[in-house]
Amino acid sequence: MFVYAMRRLIAIVPVLIGISILVFMFIHLIPGDAATILLGERGTPQRLAEVREQLGLNKPWVFNPEGFAKNGVLGFFDSQYFNFVGKLLQGDFGVSLLKNIPVKTELVQRWPGTIELSIGAMILSTFLGIPIGILAAVRRNSIVDNLSMTVALIGVSMPIFWLGLLLIYLFAVELHWLPPGHRLGTDLSISFKPITNLLVLDGVLRGQLNVTLQALQHLILPSVALATIPTAIIARMTRSAMLETLNQDYVRTARAKGLSQRTVVYKHALRNALLPVATVIGLQVGALLGGAILTETVFSWEGIGLWIYEGISTRDYPIVQAGVIFVAFVFTLVNTIVDISYALLDPRIQYR
């Protein structure tokens, strides 16, 4: 088991190398660079050349033959890609081209925001999606089933952006029940000094429960917006997995033994049906991180999604590279953990 886990963890490394090449390639292949965006309508050729030189964008992408002539082998690798990878190996994510502050500082500061949002959405979607799926499966073809699956279909197809705005208008603008955006209200956000930047947790740690409460209030709408798609997917997956399990012989045996419906469904069927659901939940982490970009934009949520989005639109290469690699790392890590956790869900599975 331990050896298997280690092997899986080590397998993340080549994935990350692949990602680093891909993200570098894609962001550089989009025409226009940070200099173009910076100068906007004013970008005369002369000014563009000047700014490119200042930002180090005049260096070749991958190999530098000119540098080879000057400084030998080291000069050959004096390029944007190898400078980036070289720094990355030393744990240095580089410096933002536009803001001139270390990417790491912002990553550390913004990452907890996305974690908090993702956890909120994950909890919502798991605790809503699984029961809905079970209910739909148990009462197959009933009104409950049809209704919940129709709602799930709508959930999958609803643009987060639009849903987010709708939620804001209803609950913040019209009803004034919940705040429209940000992680804390203006007053508290100024006075409160976070520790981990997971504000719900920090409120407890600092003994300021009003912070925790307000952070939770701010968390509700974005979590709901972000959770719709995963909830729908999890519900549908649970339903089909449950249906399959409920038709199996051992379930019929259990029923024939005279066990209650409850014991049959929850003790016998659910545990087996959860296996594919766990995989889907793991994969949904990717969807959450992707959806976070839209959710964070609508709700002005200070997290990594909004940050990467801004990085892409301003061609701030170091931010995009670091952000995407980090997200990819988390995604692969979570899915590896899900894979390993199969053993816990299903004792028959043994790893070698």
Binding site: G32, V95, N100, A172, G185, Q214, S300, E310
Partner: protein, 532 residues
């Protein structure tokens, strides 16, 4: 199940208590929302609008503008004068001004700041650490040592007098120095923070002379300012604490204003104008127009190499109708590239092209295209103040031109790519615009029609070059009038950038916000604003 109920009730009661608590907190905080965070607090480094607005409360320039106008008024300089040829400019400075860090403001401080912007070798310029000093390159044509640079030297005459010597006559120099870019920071603070000055790490050190002091900055979330108790000038504000919050999405920004979490916000969608007017708790704020949105034609690509075709297009588009329906009363269309702030520079001979599809069709036939033609029409992928919704506007233009047989293929691409590709002769016809930086017509004409203009329409008219250069040398506004009128007549006839709209950016505040005088230049002067 019982525990759940108890937990639920606790949370509900807690939330209610909290809402009451929030509602009762101090009233003299003004929350302002804009679409992006500040990049840094380094004056003279960047041209990004959100960054400049964030710097504005804490810094001041040598000259300022009278609130709500483009008229120059004294600020850190009490008075200023130029020699006859407009090549030497002397500013007399106030002697009673202190920076937020307690150090005194004087001519040495001004020179220190100018040297950072202008001299690539100046040790405190930190160009190797990523400082760009963009405005000096763009507005004053370059840095020390560049052949094109406007500034030749900067000299401290005495403790409170500073003199700029220019390489060429430049009549708008005072207006440029008054623009929001050239703000003065404390040399002591800069030396203390080094290359970190202006970054989040240096927040305690950042010091200007303005009516507000920077207290806290959490990038992506908020910027907090407090009123400067030792401010040298007079202010009418009663705001003790000013907070900037970043809300990227336009609809979300408007939603926060309506929900009451924001007091003042900018760059709203014209579609929301009616809703703001209908809401008694809100106030619509209309900023005087200082921009131009235009339809550009690449004069090197067929069929727009033919001036008659361009004129035909100008007659075939119903600009009035389109502007009325898309700007909802927040924009005007006319034949001038200059906004109405410069009405004296507009030629009485220029009357806008009248919408007349029949005449346009005939003109097109005369030009050799009796059956029209097909071409690509590019529209911007982003919303700018001059074109808030480029796509439907482009569609409306295309519909009009279809009437005279011109088939436009609508195209767009990512903004960064768009800006780059327009210079590659890829766009026969496209949408773009400009927002002015300072109150001089030169700032509208030269970047588009001057010798160093971006080659996106390939229009090189020596006559226009000469006229613009002549106007640049005149300090007397009246003397420039006939020159700019002539420029306008030529441009009107040549139709390379068809002026489409001068728009008024839409801003809104709570009804309790008072005293705000919106400036055509776009900056918000918080020292004017109070909360009832």
């Amino acid at each position: 199940m019982k525990h759940w109920k108890i937990a639920f009730v606790t949370v509900a009661l807690g939330s209610a208590a909290l809402m009451v608590a929030t509602a009762q907190s101090s009233a003299k905080t003004l929350v302002f929302a804009q679409s992006g965070d500040a990049i840094n607090f380094e004056p003279g480094d960047r041209e990004d609008g959100n960054t400049l607005q964030a710097q504005q409360p804490i810094y001041e320039r040598l000259l300022g503008f009278e609130s709500g106008t483009t008229k120059l008024v004294p600020s850190l300089a009490k008075s200023w004068r130029a020699n006859k040829t407009a090549t030497e400019w002397t500013f007399s400075l106030r002697s009673d001004v202190k920076f937020h860090d307690g150090t005194g403001f004087d001519a040495d401080a001004v020179k220190f700041n100018v040297m950072r912007w202008w001299d690539p070798k100046f040790e405190y310029g930190y160009r190797d650490k990523g400082k760009l000093w963009e405005p000096m390159g763009d507005l004053l044509s370059g840095y020390k040592g560049d052949a094109s640079a406007v500034i030749k030297d900067v000299q401290v005459v005495n403790k409170y007098q500073i003199k700029f010597i220019l390489t060429q006559p430049f009549a708008a120099f005072d207006a440029v120095m008054a623009s929001i870019y050239f703000e003065i920071a404390s040399p002591t603070a800069i030396k203390k923070a080094g290359a970190d000055y202006g970054t989040p790490a240096s927040v305690g050190t950042i010091a200007g002379t303005g009516p507000f002091i920077l207290k806290d900055w959490k990038p992506g979330d908020r910027i907090v300012y407090s009123k400067n108790p030792n401010y040298w000038g007079k202010t009418t504000t009663n705001v003790d604490q000013l907070v900037f919050r970043t809300i990227k999405d336009t609809s979300a920004r408007f939603a926060e204003l309506r929900a009451g979490t924001v007091d003042l916000t900018v760059n709203l969608n014209p579609d929301d104008y009616a809703a703001i007017k209908a809401d008694p708790k809100l106030k619509a704020i209309l900023r005087p127009s200082f921009n131009v949105g235009y339809v550009a034609f690449n004069t090197q690509l067929k069929p727009f190499d033919n001036v008659k075709v361009r004129q035909a297009v100008a007659q075939a588009v119903n600009k009035k109708e389109i502007v009325a329906s898309f700007w909802k009363g927040l924009g005007v269309t006319d034949g001038s590239f200059l906004p109405s702030t410069f009405s004296d520079f507009r030629s009485p001979k220029v009357k806008d092209y009248v919408y007349n599809p029949e005449a346009a069709k005939k003109a097109l036939a005369d030009a050799g295209y009796p059956n029209g033609f097909e071409t690509d029409f590019w529209y911007m992928p982003v919303s700018r103040p001059y074109f808030p919704t480029p796509k439907p506007i482009a569609e409306a233009i295309a519909a009009d031109l279809a009437q005279i047989g011109i088939k436009l293929n609508l195209k767009t691409e990512d903004w960064g790519t768009y800006l780059e590709d327009r210079k590659k002769n890829k766009f026969p016809m496209f949408l773009l615009g400009w927002t002015g930086d300072y109150g001089d017509a030169d700032n509208f004409y030269t970047p588009h029609f001057g010798p160093g203009a971006v080659d996106d329409v390939n229009y090189r008219n020596q006559k226009v070059f000469d006229l613009l250069e002549k106007a640049q040398k005149l300090t007397n506004r009246k003397a420039k009038v006939p020159i700019y009128q002539q420029v306008e007549e030529i441009l009107f006839n040549d139709v390379v950038r068809l002026p489409f709209v001068h728009s008024q950016p839409l801003e809104a505040s709570k009804a309790t916000v008072e005293g705000y005088k919106p400036s055509p230049l776009g900056e918000i002067n918080f020292a004017d604003i109070s909360i009832k």
